[in-house]
């Protein structure tokens, strides 16, 4: 039987991760685009790491970084009174880090597609960086930004390795849909695994189809 609780949890995790990455990724992408510092190359490489690292490696380091003996884990426990690993909040932190390139790279591509002359025109007309961003850059790169958000959502929805390492398998707390599928296969319940997998495929396909339909092309290509 399909684990609707796990599906609900995955959608919630994907939604929160996408919203957080929208808030964090936009300023980060802006900085990458417009910073003259060499550090931007290092930051870009760090952000892209989850694309090439095995999820278990990232999960392992996150487990150490967020664990109860780590400074972050101790600080979190002191404030909230509970540990960060094997919790939904821990999953959010892991998902944000793991999905970072899926948001930031399309944002950077979208910003780089905005004609630099428009940004300079805005500055000459007395508008600050923030005003220029809201009134010129964001409207002209909205499709690319939307692509980043949708890719983040779809990617988070199907996360497995990092989720398992950080969250474990607690029903209603950290068991996401991909972990539920793994559980079903381990229990030789291929019917449930098949139904849940088909649902995940359909959900991911519809999400991407919606993105391609509104974009009419490659999601991260800018049109300004």
């Amino acid at each position: 039987m399909i684990d609707w609780v796990a599906i609900g949890l995955s959608v919630k995790l994907a939604g929160i991760t996408s919203a957080l990455l929208l808030a964090l990724g936009l300023p980060l992408a802006w900085w990458i685009c417009f910073s003259a510092r060499r550090a931007r190359r290092v930051v870009e490489a760090l952000i892209a790491l989850p694309l090439v690292l095995p999820p278990t490696v990232l999960g392992f380091y996150l487990l150490l970084a967020l664990g109860p003996r780590s400074p972050v884990g101790r600080l979190y426990a002191a404030i909230v009174g509970d540990g960060l690993v094997f919790s939904f909040e821990g999953l959010i932190v892991a998902s944000v880090l793991y999905s970072l390139p899926f948001a930031v790279q399309p944002f950077v591509a979208a910003f780089e597609g905005v004609n630099r002359g428009l940004i300079e025109a805005s500055w000459c007309l007395g508008r600050s960086n923030l005003e220029t961003f809201w009134r010129v850059v964001l409207p002209l790169s909205a499709r690319g930004v939307l692509a980043g958000v949708v890719l983040t959502f779809a990617h988070t929805l199907g996360e497995f390795g990092v989720v398992l390492m950080i969250g474990g398998n607690l029903s209603g707390e950290t068991r996401t849909v991909s972990v539920a599928i793994y559980d079903a296969v381990q229990a030789l319940d291929y019917t449930t695994a098949g139904q849940t997998s088909a649902l995940l495929v359909a959900l991911s396909f519809v999400t991407l189809l919606a993105l391609y339909t509104t974009r009419g092309g490659t999601p991260w290509a800018s049109r300004s």
Partner: protein
């Protein structure tokens, strides 16, 4: 009434040329100065440095008593209040014409933007269209209106009429001159066109390619620079092809080949 603008700049590109434009006297309010010269001598760079889009390596850009850039510290473009019209116009494609005009800080509301566009010959219908639905001449007018709307302290125009056909160019040239005279601030125009320089500019600054990059070759009243270029390079930059090698004989008589010259204003 505006304030004078002093432009003395040196801009060096890493592993590239150096642009050196040190004007002895400031650009005066109401005075239109044309920067004239071949491609690649740094005319646009000069404009961008004045606008604050590029930093000086040395020199001084000063408006009235306010230092804009002295090679160490520079005011950002937002603080300079320049009306900048670049070659590509850079109109915001997602905004309608009047919204482009009303975009600048202190540019005013829709009514003022529309009134400004009307002054420049764009009616209510055109004012409501996005730039993509306007002709080249109309876009040029929108760009000019947008630069004028926030009451700039300095106007900077990079080949303002180059993209237009001859008819539109003639029509807009008169309007531009009239508008700039009324605005009464220092204006710097980059142009390749001798006729345009003569029609628009009071002062002509000719730049040529020097051994290390672009440099100032002659600066003076437009008509006098055009009448008497001080070097062969300036004459050629101004588009004069009838340049002759002149020699003087022992009696002080000037000769171009075997032709005896009668005039006194022989230079070079």
């Amino acid at each position: 009434m505006g304030e004078p603008l002093l432009v003395q700049l040196t801009r060096t590109y890493p592993r590239g040329p150096t642009v050196r434009v040190h004007l002895d006297t400031p650009l005066l309010p109401g005075e239109v100065t044309a920067l004239f010269g071949p491609s690649g001598v740094g005319k646009t760079t000069t404009l961008r440095c004045v606008a604050g889009l590029e930093r000086l390596d040395a020199g001084l850009i000063q408006h009235g008593l306010t230092v804009w850039d002295d090679g160490r510290r520079a005011l950002p473009p937002q603080a300079r209040r320049v009306g900048f019209v670049g070659q590509d116009l850079a109109l915001f494609p997602h905004l309608r014409a009047w919204e482009n005009v009303a975009y600048g800080r202190g540019a005013g509301d829709e009514a003022r933007a529309r009134a400004l566009l009307l002054e420049l010959g764009l009616g209510p219908q055109e004012a409501s269209r996005p730039p993509g639905q306007l002709s080249g001449g109309q876009r040029q007018r929108v760009a000019l209106a947008r630069a004028l709307a926030p009451n700039p302290q300095v106007m900077l125009l990079d080949e303002p009429l180059s993209a237009l056909d001859a008819t539109s160019r003639d029509a807009l040239r008169g309007l531009l001159r009239e508008t700039l005279t009324r605005l009464a601030v220092p204006t710097l125009i980059v142009t390749h066109d001798r006729a345009e320089a003569l029609a628009l500019a009071d002062r002509l600054v000719v730049m040529v390619a020097g051994p290390h990059g672009g440099e100032l070759a002659q600066d003076g009243a437009a008509a006098s620079v055009l009448r008497a270029p001080n070097t062969e390079a300036v004459a050629r930059a101004l588009g004069f092809d009838n340049v002759w090698t002149v020699r003087r004989d022992d009696a002080g008589q000037a000769w171009a080949g075997t032709i005896r010259l009668l005039g006194r204003s022989v230079s070079g």
